[in-house]
């Protein structure tokens, strides 16, 4: 398949309402611009999740590229009648898992909340800003990453990424009931860890 390298200029935003089915069909017919529009619709979501799973913007970029390469390759398997986002998220989870495995770190341990880029410095004071709040977030992030892998993924997708339980189940290729109990155990374990650390500090 010949790929057209003409690209939409970066400042041009793709309308959210683009018919995904039409875009998929065009991409499969060899229209690379159509695929770029798909990428633009979902890139932020894919990058954010990769960044959170891998803990670095460079790795996240590589992962996101790999995710879209796989999506392009297997686009014909996508059921266009169903939402695209969980499908892409599932690929993202798998790609990040592969990268982690390749790095021979079965469980990635994070020291910091993954890098955050800000376009403009915050001018209005954040009501939650402050050293204590930031410390709390760091502790929480650490507690989250110390969870068993399955619980960590379920809580991360549900609470941090904000997917519904049904979507999390689809992304992880699991049942809703299983995911619900993983989320329940995960949240409880985080609370226990946070309470213990508070106890140690005081």
């Amino acid at each position: 398949m010949e790929l057209l390298m003409t690209r939409v200029p970066d400042n041009e935003t793709a309308p959210e309402t683009l018919e995904i089915e039409a875009l998929v069909r065009k991409t499969l017919a060899g229209d690379c611009r159509a695929f770029e529009q798909i990428v633009r619709q979902f890139e932020r979501r894919v990058m954010t999740l990769s960044n959170r799973l891998l803990g670095g913007m460079d790795e996240a970029q590589d992962a996101a590229q790999e995710v879209f390469l796989r999506a392009f390759k297997y686009l014909h398997r996508l059921d266009v009648r169903r939402p695209v986002e969980p499908w892409l998220m599932r690929i993202t989870v798998n790609v990040c898992r592969d990268i982690q495995r390749k790095n021979q770190r079965r469980h990635y341990t994070f020291c910091e909340v993954p890098s955050t880029e800000r376009e403009t410095p915050c001018s209005t004071p954040d009501p939650y800003s402050g050293v204590a709040w930031e410390q709390e977030r760091q502790r929480l992030w650490k507690a989250l990453n110390e969870l068993p892998e399955k619980e960590r993924m379920a809580v991360l997708l549900r609470d941090v990424e904000g997917f519904s339980t049904a979507e999390v189940a689809e992304i992880l290729g699991s049942s809703e009931g299983t995911v619900r109990s993983q989320i329940c155990r995960g949240r409880l374990r985080i609370k226990v860890a946070m309470d213990r650390k508070t106890g140690e500090q005081s």
């Binding site: 398949m1 790929l3 390298m5 690209r7 970066d10 499969l28 690379c32 695929f35 770029e36 990428v39 633009r40 890139e43 932020r44 990058m47 954010t48 960044n51 959170r52 913007m57 970029q61 996101a64 590229q65 879209f68 390469l69 392009f72 390759k73 297997y74 014909h76 398997r77 909340v113 993954p114 890098s115 955050t116 880029e117 800000r118 376009e119 939650y128 709390e136 977030r137 929480l140 992030w141 989250l144 809580v155 549900r158 609470d159 941090v160 990424e161 904000g162 339980t165 619900r180 989320i183 329940c184 155990r185 949240r187 409880l188 985080i190 609370k191 946070m194 309470d195």
Partner: protein, 242 residues
């Protein structure tokens, strides 16, 4: 609801993951129980904190750089033959003309398989009986292999056996149940042939039955009953050890 159960399900309640009825029960319990309320508040703070982790923002510049790299890699990507075949089957094959062609190929394959199956069933290599005791003459016995030549009276002529039964004999040292041996001898008086068969069948004494397809008005009989033991076949075969 007791406190133990409440604490087990509060982590779901706090994230809005309980169904309406359970959530109502939990709300009622929290109204009454200060201990669970405190536990709940801790969890609720934790949820706010978890949601705050969502704030990671990614600049358009980073996204643009990712996209540049992606399309660069995409230009180099070649789809493997397996992916192309899969695409063809999933997408192209849905077109009517190709679907018709595909159906035609499938029909030919199916017909060939069916014909082979029919051939096998129509020309069995084991004895076929009608109403359990009338042996049918195997139609294609002449395509079988010649096991040997009978030269001892009262027989003279070729003995045919199906290759499948013979291979089984080679492998195990005995003929399988249902084996048919057909002896074709030249008839003494009319220049035609006479056909006799022995069948390995445990219903007969000592496991073998003997048959003769006598000539009829329309020609040679195509089916016959077993010869009675009084005909002496078994006794003679037993004496000669064959």
């Amino acid at each position: 609801m007791n406190c133990n159960h409440a604490k087990d399900t509060l982590p779901l309640y706090v994230g809005g993951d309980l169904d309406a009825a359970d959530a109502d029960q939990m709300s009622a319990h929290l109204q009454r129980c200060a201990g669970c309320r405190e536990f709940y508040e801790g969890l609720a703070n934790q949820q706010t904190l978890l949601r705050s982790l969502r704030q990671a923002t990614i600049t358009p510049a980073t996204l643009a750089s990712m996209r540049r790299g992606l399309f660069h890699r995409l230009a180099d990507q070649r789809l493997g033959w397996w992916v192309r075949l899969e695409r063809f089957l999933l997408i192209e094959a849905r077109r009517p003309r190709l679907a018709v062609a595909g159906a035609a190929i499938a029909a030919v394959v199916f017909a060939t398989l069916f014909a082979q199956l029919w051939q096998v069933t129509a020309n069995p290599t084991v004895a076929v009986f009608e109403s359990s005791d009338i042996l049918r003459l195997p139609a294609d016995y002449r395509e079988w292999m010649v096991l040997g030549t009978a030269s001892t009276a009262p027989h003279s002529g070729n003995i045919y056996v199906s290759p499948a039964a013979y291979h089984e004999y080679e492998r195990r040292g005995t003929f399988p149940e249902g084996t048919v041996m057909v002896l074709e001898s030249k008839a003494v008086n009319n220049g035609g042939i006479t056909l006799e068969a022995s069948v390995k069948d445990r219903r007969f004494n000592e496991g073998w039955g003997y048959f003769r397809f006598d000539p009829t008005a329309e020609g040679l009989a195509r089916k016959t009953r077993a010869l009675p033991e009084s005909a002496g076949c078994l006794a003679c075969h037993r004496d000669r050890g064959i």
